[in-house]
Symmetry: C2
Subunit: 385 residues, 2 copies
């Protein structure tokens, strides 16, 4: 049984008010949002049209009341299906003025002279508009200043509502069912590119709306890389096949992987895999509200690299939600505290020698009384195909 599509208007009103309370604390008169995830967070505006880089899109959140959309006219119909009623459009692309006049006018309206307008500036962010357009906007703001947004949207997004968690759970369940069917599509002699193509079909059959992410690899006793697209190389007995997917349900991601031994695993592969699952156990034990992301890192690092230098361990997981990867990061320098409503991945890796690795990942949610695994926990025994 899947969650209903979309959100009640209340969900967005709650987000606006939470952001506005933070803006008041930080002395910001407005937020300017330019990226897909920021705009969708405050409006529910969901479209794959962001795949087109052509047009800039803007949302302005004033210090009170609803946001104002300043968008290309091609998006007006879809934006009217959201709780946003003040929708200002231009015919993009416009080489003379691609929305900057309309946007600066809107910002001058909501922010007083000497006002401060927050724009994302922090790690993992970027500003999605042409650099020349941003300079023109700066000049047109007449006494108002673009300042860092105090990470307001970024931090609000870290805590998911129950409705958001339901959507993530749906995405995770689709991927879980697809992973259970990998023996139908993969085995010795099958090209990795065919495995990738067929696995995406499984994800769609099992309920994914679309499949924005699939990476993986295969190699004898482990693999060298976790971000590659498929080669046409054929799977061989003794390979470890890893598939890491992020599927979408109603705008929310899953992000976890599964490892498969092609034929019976070697002892090294069997014990490497068991160690990864032990690291997940340690991570789950540590993932209590109030612990830090650094605590989580060390809990898993001591299993996957006992006696090693933890700084070589990389990132052992991250936030998850409207994006495949979100903050915070499970690294030694992240001292963010776990809070109920956070959804994250645990993603330990082990060094298999000779430049080979194995990586395992689960998706979890933090509840008042501890973590709950959203993905169906993988056993210590590696799956065999």
């Amino acid at each position: 049984m899947s969650a209903a599509r979309g959100f009640p208007a209340m969900e967005f009103a709650r987000r606006w008010q939470a952001a506005q309370a933070a803006m008041a604390r930080e002395g910001l008169d407005a937020l300017l949002l330019t990226t897909e995830v920021e705009i969708r967070y405050y409006t529910g505006f969901l479209t794959r049209f962001w795949e087109s880089p052509t047009r800039p899109w803007f949302l302005v959140l004033p210090s009170s009341g609803a946001p104002i959309a300043v968008i290309p006219s091609i998006g007006a119909h879809l934006m009217r299906q959201t709780p946003i009623s003040d929708i200002r459009t231009w015919a993009a692309p416009d080489y003379a003025d691609d929305g900057i006049g309309l946007l600066s006018e809107t910002l001058r309206e909501v922010a007083p002279k000497a006002g401060r307008i927050g724009l994302a500036s922090h790690i993992e962010s970027h500003v999605r508009m042409p650099r020349a357009g941003l300079a023109a906007l700066d000049a047109a703001l007449a006494d108002r200043t673009l300042v860092p947004d105090a990470e307001i949207t970024w931090r609000l997004r870290m805590i998911k509502s129950d409705l958001e968690i339901e959507k993530i759970s749906d995405a995770v369940a689709s991927a879980d069912r697809a992973f259970d069917r990998v023996s139908e599509i993969a085995g010795a002699g099958v090209a990795l590119s065919d495995v990738f193509r067929r696995f995406q079909i499984l994800c769609l059959e099992e309920g994914a709306d679309w499949v924005p992410y699939l990476a993986g690899a295969a190699g004898q006793g482990g693999y060298r890389d976790v971000i590659s697209p498929a080669t046409d190389d054929k799977l061989r007995r003794g390979d470890v096949l890893m598939l890491d997917t992020g599927v979408i349900r109603d705008g929310y991601f899953s992000d976890f992987d599964r490892n498969y031994s092609v034929g019976p695993p070697t002892d090294a592969v069997a014990s490497g895999h068991a160690r990864l699952v032990d690291a997940i156990d340690a991570g789950l034990e540590a993932a209590q509200p109030g612990a830090t992301f650094a605590d989580l890192f060390y809990a898993m690092a001591q299993i996957v690299m006992p006696g090693g230098d933890p700084s070589d361990a990389g990132r052992l997981g991250h936030g998850l939600g409207m994006q495949l990867t979100e903050g915070p990061s499970i690294i030694p320098s992240d001292h963010t505290r776990l809070e109920p409503g956070m959804v994250l991945t645990l993603e330990p890796g082990v060094d298999m020698g000779g430049g080979r690795i194995m990586v395992h990942e689960e998706d979890i949610v933090i509840r008042d009384d501890g973590p709950v695994c959203l993905s169906r926990r993988q056993e210590r025994e590696i799956r065999v195909i």
Copy 2:
């Protein structure tokens, strides 16, 4: 028969040299590239990992020789499979310095004091790195200046090599075969969300590596929007169903749509569709080397809105290649001249009254002696399911 994967090293050397010749003309000492498409254009670095917004990635093209990659260590293995040998990495995310130190050092090495470093600033571009990071970079460059990149990469990408055109043709052929099978998956009573899911499966079955874009709509006698994701509404007799997809083959996109009448079309739908195909005819006739994109616009606009105000027609097509939409744009203000090797979409729309529209799209390549349609031309008669 599909094109071989990847490119020979020569293809990249040619791109570097073409950019470097333009840099010399423009007085630029280096280019700084920050987005997926820019970095892939000069390296062949192809991964779906860009779906993760966490890490910034940089490529530096000096005034001569090969580019230098300044990237998160997670990408080193895959970057080593490209023609790039100077690969400098850091363990991202690093909250203290997320690559800026390494990048500014690299830029100071390739650009002399008082040197000028080109960074994308033009329409359809953005800079993919945190705003705070860009400010820190600016400060660390010590006398070198970040200036607009004179649109060098953007303009080079407009002219495709024969190898690029082969890849686009493969993507287009996959989508064409999927469109031919829509009657297997869609008809009265089927929910649009199921049609979307199943159509993506068809694209994968027919050879797409992945399906980054699918939008569409259905409505009685026309639809209201071309960028929406699927609703759970069921198709009804009398609906026009439009599916617009962008599929990937080896990193290159198709982008075209097809319309289907659910049951026999009304006269209005039949003649609207015929008019769209007539507009494509007019576009093909106008799409000769030396004509401008504005010429192309007016050739199609006079068919789809005879006597109307062309400024209401929107964009009637655009460049196509490594991205779903690229420049130039088929709009009245684009005076770029068509050149052999350009690949573009022709995308006229007609107003069906009552807020409803129909849009039709084909993919074409400009050759020395005129345009060639890459997609299999749709007949004047709308397809019926």
